[in-house]
Symmetry: C2
Subunit: 226 residues, 2 copies
């Protein structure tokens, strides 16, 4: 009885355009200030403050004071996965190849909560699959023995010993699965470490550096013409 009401209450929090915009802006896992989120939601700081209060109250966001700023981020993995679920449904069917702000950059490479998406993310998943490093299906995926060794050598080591699974995440611009879960996160993390990719201000798009162009080509055979 009390159960669906909690569902409704949670969903209602996502059901406001301003809040949805703010949450989408946080999907790359960064922590943003209230002002930045107000900008992302296209609303004034006063209004944003109310929304952020509700989202925090509802357990969707965690907040950390730092000087005169307040940094908001998604409160847990579950929040990111919930948003993924809604996005997977809500996104327009085939890649509507038009007009977002910086759409082209977003489609080339972007972060999706804690892992890589866009053409780069899909290409990485394809490359690893083609080489037998991971096996992916619609219901899940697994890193092979060879894949574990490869990731190890690449510097994106995972806890050894136990079997390593990975979760596919449906990519809304390519409509193809890419690597999420611990594996995707470790891979993305290592790419940042190597300086192959770099975050950009005010967007989830990531830039592929010249080192990255070279690295992705050498290690994965990936060349993104775009």
């Amino acid at each position: 009885m009390t159960e669906p009401n909690r569902i409704a209450a949670t969903a209602a929090l996502l059901g406001d355009p301003a809040r949805a915009n703010m949450l989408a802006a946080l999907m790359d896992g960064r922590a943003l200030t209230a002002k930045e989120l107000a900008y992302a939601g296209h609303i004034t700081p006063q209004t944003a403050s109310e929304h952020l209060g509700k989202l925090t109250e509802g357990g969707l966001l965690a907040v950390k004071k730092q000087g005169r700023h307040r940094y908001y981020r998604l409160a847990s993995l579950l929040v990111g996965q919930m948003l993924e679920g809604v996005m997977a449904f809500a996104e327009p069917e085939p890649a509507r190849a038009t007009t977002w702000r910086g759409g082209e950059a977003l489609r080339t490479a972007r972060t999706c909560y804690d892992h890589l998406a866009g053409r780069l993310g899909v290409a990485l998943a394809d490359a690893l699959t083609a080489r037998g490093h991971v096996a992916l299906g619609t219901d899940g995926g697994e890193v092979t023995e060879a894949g574990t060794q490869f990731l190890d050598a690449f510097g994106a080591a995972l806890a050894p010993g136990r079997r390593v699974f990975c979760r596919p995440c449906l990519d809304w611009s390519e409509r193809r699965p890419h690597l999420a879960g611990r594996v995707g996160a470790a891979l993305a993390c290592r790419c940042f470490e190597l300086g192959w990719i770099a975050r950009q201000r005010d967007t989830r798009a990531v830039a592929i550096t010249t080192a990255g162009q070279e690295g992705f080509r050498a290690q994965f055979g990936i060349v993104l013409g775009g």
Copy 2:
């Protein structure tokens, strides 16, 4: 720009208690009439009609006319997965062992969209894991060679040849993963076929028949004290 608005619009559809109740009632994959859904949402048929119209319009529900009834069901797997995502977040933390309508029956065994959940679902996942038939992790899972053979012999055969993955689905009453995805669906389907479990009216709870008591014990070593 248009993107998060779609997310918000979709989430807003889930964000009404009456609609959330109706969707929750459809989570077991059955098709229900408008009247039954009005009852599930605790609203009058007029109001339910509006809600059902919006949900259908939004692509969440599919409807089929049959005589003077209209049967509504979830429109796609994506809808079920989206709801799962929201539920996984929104459910109260530990098993709040109290007071739902038929709570005890629901906790023992119920359907979760197209597969089994509750103690039975978790016990099945545990049994299959313990025997090395499936391997489960937080990011996914896989059916082993032996598991494929076992499922085959059990009558819950899956398309052969390709690797079979399965998706864990976090159980909100037990807080333990159980089997979802194709594997979970095939398993549940076979249990219904064998007459081990039976659907009940007006609830997602399923009854374990006496044949089921015997079968689950013999095949899986599962005894649910009730």
